[in-house]
Amino acid sequence: MNIFFSNSKDNRISIWSIGSNLSTGMEDGFEGDPQLLCEHKHDGDVLDLQFLDQDRIVTASSTGAVTIFRHHQNSQTISVSQLWARAHRYPCDNAPCTGVVCSSPEIVTVGEDGRIVVFRADQEGVVRVIENADSSTIHAVTYLRTTEILTVNSIGQLKLWDFRQQSNSPSQILSLSGDRVPLHCVDRHPNQQHIVATGGQDGMLCVWDVRQGNTPFSLMEAHTAEMWEVHFHPTNPDHLFTCSEDGSLLHWETSSHSDMPSFLQGGRNSSMVSRSAMAPAGGKQPLISAWLSGDSSKGRLETTHMLPSQTLSVNSLDVLGPCLVCGTDGEAIFVNRQVPV
């Protein structure tokens, strides 16, 4: 039974379950309503949420608080397990906490006050704070390696932070030259830790290679308005999902041909084939992922709209296996159980 969490504008956290019956008669993947299991009040808007482990989630609130909720499977209730009330703050005001990422038991949060705060679940106080990490709002954060995180901010910069170092400055700053377009979301490739995708205010999808250079590898026009979230598929990373203020959810699928002999090409597995074909041939040539094929016309990149019709802004999405969930400003949740990955 798949479970997903949702945050509603009424400031509640809700847990829903979608049955795992994929009856053969279903053509439209959106059939079958999710069932509400339980819900709990939440102080302030939920700006981000993440699973900490099987039973717990962490939420980032617009009041600057970071909360851990525990889902009790037996009684189907939610309770607050831990709360850090003013994790992000201004001297005389609340600062919204905009992003949270966990690697149990460590939790890293970022906020509009430009601080990065590290917590540990089950520990009262703050483990580490990077004050003034950014002079502008940090919009999102993700883990690059176990000790490194990546943040994006509203002046269009990607900053790499290494927790092994004691200093309060980033170890690397990457940005697009030209207009400083705010970046809103970031996600790392599940298998190849140097590939990162970001989305920004102008709706462009950028794929970066953090080892090489400080400018993005490829830029793709994705949406006509702010891109709120970008996610690689966790088990099938040739698939990427983006959602935007313009009300669309795009499914990006890449499979690259490269200039290889034709007998090695063909079929949907071409990305697998290309990798093994290239390594012995070059020897020194690095493994090139399909995402870093640079010119998107060289690699085959397909995009499909996932939502049936025009909706208000799609604020958030998540994907696991063949199941995709997204939420819109029209207070609707769409569940697609048959995503072709």
Partner: protein, 652 residues
């Protein structure tokens, strides 16, 4: 001023004591009220420090009704996009299906509310939900009737069938009773048995009547022939088939024959021995008195109306309805003197007075949802004459604007309201411009959404104002980078100048730059304001100095002053920065450059002298200034000497 249609309702504010004067202020969807100290006579009384907020429309905060607003918004937007140029014949089925969509949304909400009302333990919540359910029931009833009469506007024959459907849909208790009877051990002996049979007859559900009567017939073998006769009568009643080949006149003829048959049966006293069957016979003839005898089974006057039409005049036309409606209502309601608002609304609908329907609904309901959407749909069907109001624009737009303005006060439903404003051609934009600036912006994400709405509609004033609000907030919290990115978005040069001043002040105070990550990476945004450009270039100067690229640093420094990029107030700092360069062993500034520096220094000191004669400045400050200037002069002179010598030297 126009006369009011109804007396205004009085609301008591419990917290304000009797007899006190109140002050008030209007808000977008509510009114703020407070106690004043004013007393009509005598000394002024004590004040009270509370402000009370009074809201008329509670519905937008109901979690279940929100679904109604969201779904109907979706349907509304879909309706607006129906192309105007299609012929009305193909548009009518679309309009009917849209109307059905609206109604199904209402029904879904009703069901959910009903579930909550039944399952909750909180009595207050239960009553509230119960009230909302009855309001929604009434709304759906009215909407359904409007759909039948106005939108579908079926011709004679089909009209009655639709009205029958309408009545059947809104009288669900018959089925419940029937279920109870049928599930009992001996249905024919159940005390409600005949009630169920008669109700079915009144609704024209003759098949069910026949099935029920079979049970009774089995119990009374002696009267079998009578039951058979009744069965025949019932089976022979003609119903108009719209899709069939029979014309209306043919149907009418057939019906009259059947009617005569039934009459003959009654005159023959065929059913005289069984009062129930005789009763059914009389009902089939449409006998008014018999029908009126069964008021409790009918329940409402409109049920009476439809039943009477079914058994007296099945080929009724739309235009004839209102005669029957008025008389039926009078006949049915003569025990009570005053008809309820719902009755008036339905009567107005039967009389085809659409404006009256809308007016009465507006008065009776506390939320504009129903009238706004219904009027919009009727307007699309071209059923509303362009009825210009004394104020504002036409009726449809007025109602939509009122509804959307109400939505705007809600912290998240305001996004729906934007689409409604978009489809009000005359005043929508103005309303939107005024309302959008007042959306509270707690988070940056919300501000971005608001900005996106404004930018899509080219509301540049609002964009600037919102960006300025966010930038000021950021500045107040010392988030200079955020403030700068907001002023870049608004292309607000004045604000960018303000922020740069703050940076420069910080530098003068602390001696180092804060937020280097921002200043170092300004990019083309630097050109937004002169001060910002200066800031970027000044930082560049420091970087060059740090990298020991002295020649370039010197050149840059000079150009900052000569090209007048640097504000005069900063020149002293710049010249002081030049000192270490002048003091270097190697000659960095050329002779020409030195002359220019001296010129700048003179310009600066002369302008300072004019203003320096104020006695406010303490002595130490003046001393410091004078010393600085002297040091500079000395360094410049020395540098000039060395430069002239160096440039004059010829290498042999």
């Amino acid at each position: 001023m126009e006369e009011v249609d109804v007396e205004p309702t009085i609301t008591n504010i419990p917290a304000i004591s009797d007899g006190k004067h109140m002050g008030f202020a209007w808000g977008p969807g509510d009114i703020l009220v407070y106690e004043t100290r004013y007393k009509a006579s005598g000394a002024s009384g004590s004040g009270c420090s509370f402000i009370h907020e009074i809201r008329k429309d509670e519905d937008i905060y109901s979690p279940i009704l929100r679904k109604l607003f969201n779904e109907s918004h979706h349907i509304f937007v879909g309706l607006q996009t129906i192309r105007e140029d299609l012929p009305s014949k193909s548009k009518k089925p679309q309009f009917v299906s849209i109307s059905k969509n609206y109604r199904s949304v209402i029904r879904a909400c009703m069901e959910e509310l009903q579930q909550v009302a039944v399952s909750t333990k909180n009595t207050e919540l239960a009553t509230q939900c119960g009230n909302q359910v009855s309001i929604l029931l009434a709304i759906e009833l009215i909407w359904n009737l409007c759909e039948v009469l106005f939108i579908d506007a079926a011709p004679a024959g089909s009209l009655l069938l639709h009205l029958l459907d309408w009545v059947r849909l809104h009288k669900a208790d018959v089925d419940e009773k029937a279920r109870e009877v049928l599930q009992s051990e001996s249905p024919a002996e159940h005390r409600d048995y005949w009630d169920v049979v008669v109700s079915y007859v009144l609704q024209g559900r003759l098949e069910e009547v026949r099935q029920m009567l079979v049970k009774q017939a089995n119990l009374q073998p002696a009267a079998r022939s009578m039951y058979k006769q009744m069965d025949t009568l019932l089976s022979k009643m003609p119903f108009y088939n719209p899709g069939g080949t029979q014309t209306l006149t043919e149907f009418d003829v057939k019906w009259r024959h059947w009617h005569e048959d039934v009459d003959r049966c009654l005159q023959d006293n065929s059913f005289a021995s069984n009062r129930h069957l005789e009763l059914i016979c009389k009902i089939l003839l449409g006998d008014e008195d018999t029908l009126l005898d069964h008021k409790e089974l009918l329940g409402t006057w409109y049920h009476f109306l439809v039943t009477r039409l079914l058994f007296c005049h099945p080929t009724v036309k739309l235009t004839e309805l209102h005669y029957y409606a008025q008389s039926c209502m009078t006949m049915f309601l003569d025990s009570r003197s005053v008809p309820e608002p719902l009755d008036n609304i339905l009567l107005a609908a039967f009389e085809f007075d659409i404006h009256q329907v809308i007016k009465e609904c507006s008065i009776a309901l506390n939320n504009w949802w129903f009238v706004a959407h219904l009027t919009d749909l009727l307007d699309h069907c071209k059923l509303l004459q362009s009825h210009n109001l004394h104020f504002g624009s036409n009726l449809r737009e007025f109602l939509l604007l009122e509804y959307a303005s109400g939505l705007f006060t809600h912290h998240s439903l305001w996004q729906l309201a934007v689409d409604y404003f978009d489809h009000c051609p005359e005043f929508g934009r103005v309303y939107l411009e005024l309302q959008i600036e007042r959306v509270p912006l707690e988070t940056e994400r919300k501000a971005l959404k608001v900005l996106r709405v404004c930018e899509q509609r080219q509301m540049s004033e609002q964009v600037r104002s919102i960006c300025k609000i966010m930038a000021m907030r950021a500045l107040r919290n010392n988030r200079l980078g955020s403030a700068l990115s907001w002023s870049i978005r608004a292309k607000d040069a004045a604000f960018a100048t303000l922020i740069s001043e703050r940076f420069l002040q910080d530098y003068c105070a602390k001696g180092t730059f804060s937020d280097l990550d921002l200043i170092d990476n300004l990019g083309p945004a630097m050109l937004l304001s002169d001060r910002l450009t200066f800031l970027g270039k000044y930082r560049e100067f420091h970087k060059l100095y740090g990298e020991k690229r002295f020649r370039e640093a010197a050149k840059l420094l000079l150009s900052l002053m000569t090209a007048k990029i640097a504000p005069q107030s900063f020149w002293m700092t710049l010249l002081t920065d030049a000192l270490p360069l002048l003091e270097q062993k190697e000659v960095i500034f050329t002779a020409d450059q030195t002359y220019e520096l001296m010129f700048c220094l003179e310009e600066l000191t002369s302008s300072l002298n004019i203003t320096a004669s104020s006695t406010d400045r303490p002595m130490q400050e003046e001393d410091v200034e004078v010393t600085k200037v002297e040091l500079l002069r000395l360094a410049l002179a020395r540098n000039l000497a060395q430069a002239i010598v160096k440039e004059g030297t010829v290498e042999i």
